[in-house]
Amino acid sequence: MKIGAWTAVAMLGLTSVTLAQDGNTLSIDGETIVTEAVAPAHLENLDTIYSGWRFRTSETQALQIDDFDNPAMIFVDQALDLFEAVDGSEGKSCSSCHTDGPEEFAGLHASMPKVVDGKLVVMEDLINSHRQDVMGAEPWKWSGADMQAMVALIGLQSRGTPMDVTIDGDAAPFWEKGKELYYTRFGQLEMSCANCHEDNYGTMIRADHLSQGQINGFPTYRLKQAKLISRHNRFRGCIRDTRAETFAEGSDEFRALELYVASRSNGLHVETPAVRQ
């Protein structure tokens, strides 16, 4: 109910980004999910970070509280089948090697992206490299249904774990690149990620309630698209909407941006797969 009151205040134009968020707490099947945390030390302009769940209507919030209501779970179930499905020249499935099932990946999502052998790697990279190198199978399309279902299944194993992405050491140059992208004002509208998601979160831009753009719930089931949405697809959509030439999904720019944005979520619990408007 408090979110309703909060929205009413917003409609009167009395908002401030320092105004308290709603008092709702997210609990999924008895497990409490942290949706508000002290901002990580590297964040110079925010004191508190909030999950995107906190900015959604009570109707949308409700869909994430119960896994039976969460439309993303249909895709997670499909990924469980894919996990067992033999594909490629080597006659293997995921479970041929990962014999303990997806549970083996508990905690992995919370630490991604990460640097492996000097390369910045995101979950889609891990999945496709195993498909190609171990299974002899075709790589999946970045934002394809199979790929994002599998990213969601692996992410779900970390649900309730705090995001904890490494930003120093090998990761530092990638993180710096991502930060630079975050603050770049792209396109004819000359807007950066920060313009909306750091400077103006909590306010309305036309009919949209601006969140902090946290990605701890990705892939998310987006109601207006009725499917799981990848992080890079969401980045692409935002940059496109500045009337800019976007970067490609799976580009090094978006890997770097993903690392930086994920690090802004450090301290929030993984919510994958979340539900958004």
């Binding site: 770049t184 004819q188 509208l189 036309r206 009337r243």
Partner: protein
């Protein structure tokens, strides 16, 4: 016959003058962020300006609230409300802000509505693809800027 020729000759001259009076986006003269003269060389139409507040590349109410347009839903909260904006700013200042708010307010998030160069990764409208390389059109035409300004100067309290 001479008379009619003379008339059409005069009409051609007028049209030429009108076109040459339009200030190009790259040639707008700002003084302390304000722009004194009409960009189109013509007066603005406030009712067209009110339409632009709610549509196309104008869409001012995506970020600004306007009580006089209360019938339009989902007014944004990013920028300051525009009620009484004509009491706070002169017509020239309003023209300067709509043309390129960043001249007056360096870090403003507000798009520059009459600007055609200096963008990073300029796209082809909302396609996500690169701009084709032809002439860049500003978000609003000179006349549309004038129409919006003509509407804004009516917002007095």
């Amino acid at each position: 016959m001479y008379f009619r020729l003379g008339l059409s000759f005069a009409a051609v001259i007028c049209a030429t003058v009108a076109v040459s009076e339009e200030v190009k986006p790259t040639e707008v003269l700002f003084v302390d962020g304000a722009v004194e003269a009409s960009l189109s060389g013509q007066p603005g139409d406030p009712s067209s300006g009110a339409d632009i507040m709610n549509k196309g590349a104008g869409n001012c109410i995506a970020c600004h609230q306007v009580s006089a347009l209360a019938h339009l839903p989902f007014q944004g909260e990013i920028g300051p409300p525009l009620d009484g904006v004509a009491d706070r700013w002169s017509e020239a200042e309003l023209r300067g802000i709509v043309t390129n708010a960043k001249i007056m307010f360096e870090d403003s998030m507000m798009p520059s509505f009459y600007k055609t160069e200096g963008f990073i990764r300029l796209g082809d409208e909302y396609t996500g693809k690169a701009h084709g390389g032809g002439e860049v059109q500003p978000l609003l035409t000179a006349q549309q800027i004038e129409d919006v300004v003509a509407y804004l100067v009516t917002l007095k309290e």
